[in-house]
């Protein structure tokens, strides 16, 4: 096996157990990607790094992280400065296309793949400004200009387009969807994202490395624990300080609370999108009860800034523990009743079954990941595949389905919700003693790369953190599973009709803010 031959030379990345790094020459870049794909590896993230300087030439480096059965493999490619472009790997990993386009927008390094339309950049700043390599930001244009994006046209008689967004009618994040339709029949869907682009990668470089978790916690509000933990995991790996056992357990508790809250919200919203308002009122009530129990335990409804470098900000008092375990029991019992109602409701079943189908074969080809992937036969869950503390002890069960439709995604959410309720009860019961916060994290060495990888409720979230001089951040690249899954939504809608899109979209429930960076 060729992969094994060259990957044996990969060096373990300090501080990130299971992660290896290897330098690859430019001419081998695509071949290596192909070998990884052939060995069942999946592309996790793609980013470039280089010191902020006034344009080229600068010693920049291209990174690609792949998930392989033994762990994460980071391919590194230094710029040879002789070529303007790096070899694109869109053909091997279709979802690499948008990552490459985004990489050009922020780092000014183009791939050789044909699609060179901007992804994160709209019209708000000039095309020759790349926030990660140019020091001075352009002065804002007086009049904001609308974006002029070249959508793919479907030719043919009677085809027309429906443009939805970026301002949607519901209470959801901004994004633009372009449907090419004939009547109700969807011929093509094209997404245009990047509306929530807040320049976080550049913002990271302006923060001290010990403060970065606060920004990480605000990359994606529904996954705040996931991101903050991924950031802190990367940072703690760099610093070489393990966290106390109690802190790890408390973080896992927070992560499961986050998962449960999001699943409850989604299950209600899915019912509501199918016109079954009973589902929304019941599940949103349960979610409210869970948030209140969280508030009783930690003084917060959503656990922003709960995960801090070295541990957690708050500890769990016995009253809080009781509130949480009572709530978890109540949730599990109520959800069982509601699942019975959902399963027996003919109208709901008709809406859910067969809608937004992604077959396991297509899912594998497109790299579908996370919760949505598990509903399409992609049985990957880092919590059981590559468990980190305390999941190695907790041994969570892995949910899964192979139908790949909305019904399957609902079923996976139910299963994971039950499992989260069980885990919450278990963690509260068996929480180890000791401190919840390690004192004094040392400043990480300059230039070191740390990787944080956490399975959030949506899927695996990765943060690549490169330390700068004297406690600064040189580069921080957050990666959301939505990068993998957004393109698949364009496939899932095919064969469905326009009014079924909101339901299918909700069943994916992908991140905008976390994706738009």
């Amino acid at each position: 096996m060729p992969l094994r031959r060259w990957s044996a030379a990969a060096a373990p990345l300090a501080g990130s157990p299971g992660t290896k790094q290897i330098v690859v020459a430019r001419e081998n870049w695509r071949a290596r990607a192909q070998e990884i794909a052939a060995a069942g590896g999946r592309l996790m993230a793609l980013w470039a790094s280089g010191p902020a300087a006034t344009g080229r030439p600068a010693p920049r480096t291209l990174y690609a992280a792949f998930v392989l059965p033994p762990g994460l493999l980071v391919l590194t490619m230094p710029d040879d400065l002789a070529h303007d472009e790096y070899p694109g790997i869109e053909e091997v990993f279709p979802h690499a296309s948008r990552m490459q386009r985004a990489l050009f927008d922020v780092s000014g390094w183009r791939s050789s793949d044909p699609d060179v339309r901007p992804w994160l950049r709209h019209a708000a700043w000039p095309a020759d400004f790349h926030p990660l390599i140019h020091e001075t930001a352009p002065t804002a244009a007086e009049e904001p200009r609308p974006d002029d994006y070249a959508f793919v046209r479907v030719e043919g008689e009677g085809v027309h387009e429906i443009a939805v967004g970026p301002v949607h009618a519901g209470i959801i994040e901004p994004g633009h969807f372009r449907f090419s339709v004939v009547g109700e029949k969807v011929l093509k869907l094209e997404e245009r994202l990047g509306y929530a682009h807040k320049g976080v990668e550049r913002r990271f470089t302006e923060l001290p490395i010990l403060e970065g978790h606060r920004l990480a916690a605000r990359l994606c509000g529904d996954s705040t624990v996931t991101y903050a933990w991924a950031y802190c995991q990367a940072l703690e790996g760099l610093a070489g300080t393990p966290i106390p056992a109690r802190a790890a357990w408390l973080r896992a508790l927070a992560l499961e609370l986050e998962r449960a809250a999001n699943h409850l919200g989604d299950l209600g919203a899915l019912g509501n999108d199918a016109g079954f308002a009973f589902g929304l009122s019941q599940f949103s009530l349960l979610k409210e009860q869970l948030l209140r129990a969280t508030h009783a335990a930690f003084g917060q409804r959503y656990l922003l800034d709960f995960v801090v470098p070295g541990g957690t900000r708050a500890d769990l008092a016995p009253e809080g523990a009781r509130a949480l375990s009572d709530c978890a029991g109540h949730l599990a019992q109520q959800t069982r009743v509601l699942r019975g109602i959902y399963d027996e409701h003919a109208g709901l079943r008709d809406r859910f079954a067969g809608a937004g189908m992604v077959t396991p074969a297509l899912a594998a080809r497109l790299g579908l990941t996370g919760l949505v992937g598990r509903a399409s036969g992609q049985a990957h869950d880092l919590r059981s595949d590559a468990p980190w503390a305390p999941y190695d002890e907790l041994a969570p069960g892995k949910a899964g389905a192979t139908e790949g439709d909305v019904a399957a995604r609902v079923a996976v959410r139910f299963d994971e919700l039950f499992e989260s309720c069980r885990l919450i009860g278990r963690i509260v019961r068996d929480l180890p003693g000791g401190t919840h916060l390690a004192a004094g994290l040392p400043t990480p060495p300059e230039g070191a790369l740390g990787i944080g990888l956490i399975e959030g409720w949506r899927g695996p979230v990765m943060i690549a953190l490169e330390a700068g001089a004297s406690g600064s951040i040189r580069r921080c690249h957050p990666h959301d599973p939505s990068w993998q899954n957004w393109p698949v939504l364009e496939h899932a809608i095919i064969g469905n009709i326009v009014p079924d899109f909101p339901l299918i979209n909700k069943s994916f429930n992908l991140a905008y803010s976390g994706h738009d960076l």
């Binding site: 008689e157 301002v167 633009h176 009547g183």
Partner: protein, 180 residues
């Protein structure tokens, strides 16, 4: 238009013609002139003219009433586009699109050949050819049969006067033979 608005008059006028023809006319009209049918209004009634006037009057009344209570301004602004500025003519519904739901409902009656794009297409294309199943299954074979027959018969029409004279001669002979 006239028939629609003043049906009773026209029906009554027609009624006299019917009576003159010696047929039994409609029951004697007892209803007022403005009703649709000269039938008792307990059975069915429709007064289009009054109807139209009333609806128009109610609409005008509504306009006046609203004018009396509403004293605010009217502002013109761009059509609501979800915040996306570049809308163009491609976003107008097409005739094909407007009729699609109905075609979908009557799908079994149509023979459709569709060329659908896939998300992998770089230059997607759509086309549809619709044929009527009834046309294909019933009328077309029937039409084919008639045409084939006509083709055969057309052989008779040689287009020469001598041939037609011959037909006349043969016909006469046949008739003669039948007479005898």
């Amino acid at each position: 238009m006239l028939l629609g608005l003043l049906p009773a008059q026209i029906v009554t006028a027609l009624d006299t013609v019917v009576r003159q023809l010696g047929l039994q006319g409609l029951p004697t009209a007892t209803a007022p002139w403005w009703l649709l049918l000269p039938l008792p209004d307990r059975q069915a009634s429709y007064a289009p003219l009054v109807f139209l006037v009333t609806v128009a009057a109610v609409v005008v009344l509504t306009v006046l009433a609203v004018r009396a209570v509403w004293h605010r301004r009217v502002r013109r602004s761009a059509a609501w586009d979800c915040g996306f500025v570049r809308l163009d003519a491609r976003m107008q519904d097409t005739a094909e699109g407007f009729g699609q739901p109905i075609r979908h409902i009557f799908q079994p009656f149509f023979a459709m050949q569709r060329e659908l794009p896939t998300p992998f297409d770089r230059a997607p294309h759509y086309s549809v050819r619709i044929a009527d199943r009834l046309w294909l299954g019933l009328y077309q074979p029937l039409g084919g049969l008639v045409r084939a027959l006509a083709d055969r018969i057309a052989w008779l029409q040689q287009g020469r006067i001598s041939a037609y004279l011959l037909y006349g001669f043969v016909t006469l002979l046949v008739l003669l033979a039948l007479m005898l």
